[in-house]
Symmetry: C2
Subunit: 221 residues, 2 copies
């Protein structure tokens, strides 16, 4: 492919021309979810104003967010629900069947394995891991639980792209080191601790205490 073909690709409204704010990417996820509801109600088109009501964002935000990826709405009409939903899936990469390994089959790990939109919508938990002999060998949500020691091997054999970490904080870095050494490209960390990963590995953290404490602050003011 030559340089002109590459330039054409960039012009076809599949790739953004300007940098996309991280805040926008996080909102895309919510648009995708509510479009599912709109779709199952049989609506063919939806306006930025309606999406604003359904998501809690503003209409201007909705239009700006979607416009990063091309002109996708029709003036006077709105956005085609089904096409927009597919487009968002493609942009978010959740149409690729990412292969996920989940480490730590406690309550949080089980909750995530059963979460609507995790094991189905574009993600497949292909293996789960734990260090508790009472859990190893059992099946959770249709996925076999392996020994934590098998993580590196399984990452390679099962071609795991992403690891979700739901182990206690003290065990998290070791898990991540093994996963990274075995070639994992992304880590989603739920353990309340700061993890170190090489620059080529994507890391996101979810701290379950942050939002409660934010609410506590709001009440206390």
């Amino acid at each position: 492919m030559d340089v002109f073909a590459l330039a054409a690709m960039r012009m076809d409204h599949t790739n953004p021309t300007r940098p996309v704010p991280p805040t926008t990417v996080r909102r895309l996820s919510t648009y995708y979810r509510v479009l599912g509801a709109v779709h199952s109600e049989g609506q063919a088109n939806v306006s930025s104003e309606t999406l604003a009501v359904l998501t809690g964002f503003t209409a201007a935000q909705v239009r700006r967010d979607l416009a990063y990826f091309g002109s996708f709405g029709k003036r006077g009409v709105g956005y085609a629900v089904s096409a927009l939903r597919q487009r968002l899936a493609s942009i978010l990469g959740i149409d690729r069947g990412w292969r996920i390994g989940l480490v730590g089959v406690g309550n949080l790990g089980r909750a995530l394995m059963a979460y609507p939109g995790f094991n189905n919508q574009g993600f497949e938990v292909v293996a789960a891991f734990d260090s508790d002999a009472a859990v190893i060998g059992s099946t959770v949500n249709g996925t076999r639980v392996l020994s934590a020691g098998d993580l590196a091997h399984a990452v390679r054999v099962d071609r795991i792209d992403m690891v979700i970490v739901t182990v206690p904080a003290r065990a998290a870095q070791k898990v991540v080191d093994q996963a990274v050494a075995a070639g994992v490209r992304a880590i989603l960390n739920f353990a309340p601790t700061q993890l170190r990963v090489p620059a080529h590995v994507q890391l996101s953290n979810v701290d379950l205490a942050v939002e409660v404490e934010y609410l506590s602050y709001s009440l206390a003011v």
Copy 2:
């Protein structure tokens, strides 16, 4: 108390003089957590640079964040670990023993009830609720599980300040309406749906799908 006493209160470095960015409040939560670790290592003082390494934020962010609430560090020395930790607890309001009701005792609800820093650190889950007869009456993490129908009554009798919602999306609005009508002041919502609450009620949402999809986007780019 006269107007001068009130003015003095505002000058005593307990209350911020400038508006505090929400981003700062969310980071305070992380400072509080890592200060616990620093404290148990016996460190008396800690610099903004060290806090930056431990949290993944920048040293300038740390100093700016803490300075919203007063001059709390010593130049050339850093921040007094123990005093800063107590101060953050006071700012975040997590020294007040907020009384929490948790609705939806599935895996996610159980995970939160067992979460370090939830049931202890300043929050007390005083009652849990579910609609499943197989769970009602049992005890989870030392808390009795009541019928979801008892929510409004329990909010009043047990003086519940905050409700954590870990029910399926379709059941969430009803739970919130009951809790709000009974006088709850804050809602922490884990259900993937947009909730409506009156302006005087604080609402925070945690969407567990957002960060996985953000990682998916990062991998797909």
